[in-house]
């Protein structure tokens, strides 16, 4: 493509989106004359403007139908992958509902950890690294608990082999236990930990409570990563995890902090911000739609995602989320729990200006969409 053609093409930036300009650039033959090229560009601009959504088009309704209809087919298509050695992840309709409701505490939190070189290519290094980030609790190293009522103490026997496998020594455990256990006397000899009562008023049931508490103490790894699984993705290896902790994982120097993601929208929102959350919503929903072999235009998903993040925080499509922000009482009442909304509105003396769609349907008036949108203004003389 010649320089003056390139110039002409670039003068349309802002009027025509970048991806369309690139498509024109690819498909127009290089030998085209300037006049012809101008004609092509003019036609493209007209075609693009005609393809735009018209003012008053009810895009939300179209999006709801376009996502909802394939959703009905998805319900039947959900299946479980029994015996597959991957981390079990919620997919299908349950996952879509989870994302659109913007639930806190999702069913199967999961991370995809990408690694820097050389970890992403070397299996051995990768395995070692994976073992270090897995959250390991104290109870995994215990072979025997013994609550001795006669001596009023708790004896814990450690499993030496497991400790060696994890590159831990009794000394490490000693340090962790000493910082976590207070108000009790602790003595450690070899692999045996003896915890006794200190104060006179303490009872044996305190020891029992301590035993339950001590089981959950984190010995090593990153909090929340319950399972780690190295998987090959194309040329490189990545680590899939059950449980998430995006903030701590991104801080590790071995981790590629530009690509590592979690599937928890709230976590992404807290760590990476609102725009990242929007992108994550689109990615997560579209991943499910594609995996089910359905065909939903991504623009619908983008519209819903934009709505969910419009006020700076992630709001679900629920009566506590975006619906609660609607200005009209009748619109809120038409979604869920109508009586609650009507009573509260009556108590507060709320005014409904009937500016939106649902409330106008309810009172049998033309709705402000399409040709119902423009109003007539008369100049009074």
């Amino acid at each position: 493509m010649k320089a003056d053609q390139e110039k002409l093409l670039n003068s349309y930036a802002g009027k025509i989106p970048l991806s369309v300009l690139e498509e024109i650039k690819e498909n127009v033959p290089g030998t085209i004359s300037k006049e012809k090229f101008q004609e092509v560009m003019d036609k493209c601009l007209i075609a693009y403007n005609n393809a735009k959504v018209h003012a008053g088009e009810c895009v939300g309704l179209v999006a709801a139908e376009s996502i909802g209809e394939p959703g009905t087919q998805m319900t039947l298509n959900t299946f479980h992958l029994a015996g597959v050695a991957e981390v079990q992840v919620t997919t299908g309709l349950p996952r879509i509902i989870e994302v659109f409701d913007a639930r806190k505490g999702i069913k199967t939190p999961m991370m995809e950890i990408f690694l820097n070189k050389p970890y992403c290519l070397d299996v051995e290094k990768l395995r070692k690294f994976a073992a270090t980030i897995k959250e390991t609790k104290f109870e995994e190293f215990v072979s025997e608990y013994n609550l001795n009522i006669f001596d009023q103490n708790l004896t814990i026997k450690l499993n030496k082999e497991l400790l060696d496998d994890n590159d831990l020594t009794v000394k490490d455990i000693n340090g962790i236990i000493k910082t976590k256990v207070k108000n009790f006397s602790v003595s450690i000899t070899d692999e045996v930990i003896v915890i006794g009562l200190k104060g006179k008023q303490d009872e044996i049931k305190d020891l029992y409570a301590l035993k339950e508490k001590i089981k959950e103490v984190k010995v090593k790894g990153i909090k929340g990563l319950k399972q780690v699984l190295p998987v090959k993705r194309g040329e490189e290896y990545v680590i899939l995890t059950a449980g998430t902790n995006l903030k701590d994982v991104l801080a590790l120097s071995e981790v590629d902090s530009t690509r590592t993601v979690s599937n928890d929208i709230y976590e992404i929102y807290n760590v990476l911000g609102i725009e990242a959350a929007r992108q994550a919503i689109i990615d997560e929903v579209y991943k499910v739609v594609e995996s089910q072999g359905l065909n939903v235009n991504i623009r619908h998903v983008m519209l819903v995602a934009d709505l969910m993040v419009a006020n700076g925080t992630v709001k679900g499509i629920t009566r506590y989320g975006v619906v609660s922000e609607k200005a009209s009482v009748l619109a809120r009442a038409s979604f869920e729990t109508p009586l609650k909304h009507l009573f509260n509105a009556a108590l507060e003396g709320e005014v409904d200006n009937l500016t939106s769609v649902v409330e106008n349907v309810m009172i049998n008036q033309p709705v402000p969409i399409g040709t119902g949108l423009p109003g007539l203004v008369t100049k009074m003389k």
Partner: protein, 78 residues
Amino acid sequence: MTLDINKHHLIPKHSKLSDAEKGKFLDSYKIDIKSLPKILIEDPAIVNLKPTAGDVIKIERESKTAGITIYYRAVING
């Protein structure tokens, strides 16, 4: 912590509009700053821009359909 989250692929480029740019932008769309979508002042992606409430943040999103789209958000106190 030296981690720069703005290099993350999920985060599009954020930049702050100057006062002149902001006025021009609001005029060109004939809108009030209140009608813009919001972003919280403590949002991790904009802390290094040191925004104040009432600023307009320009966001250059990579879009699957349009290549690059430009979006604007008004900074609000959380």
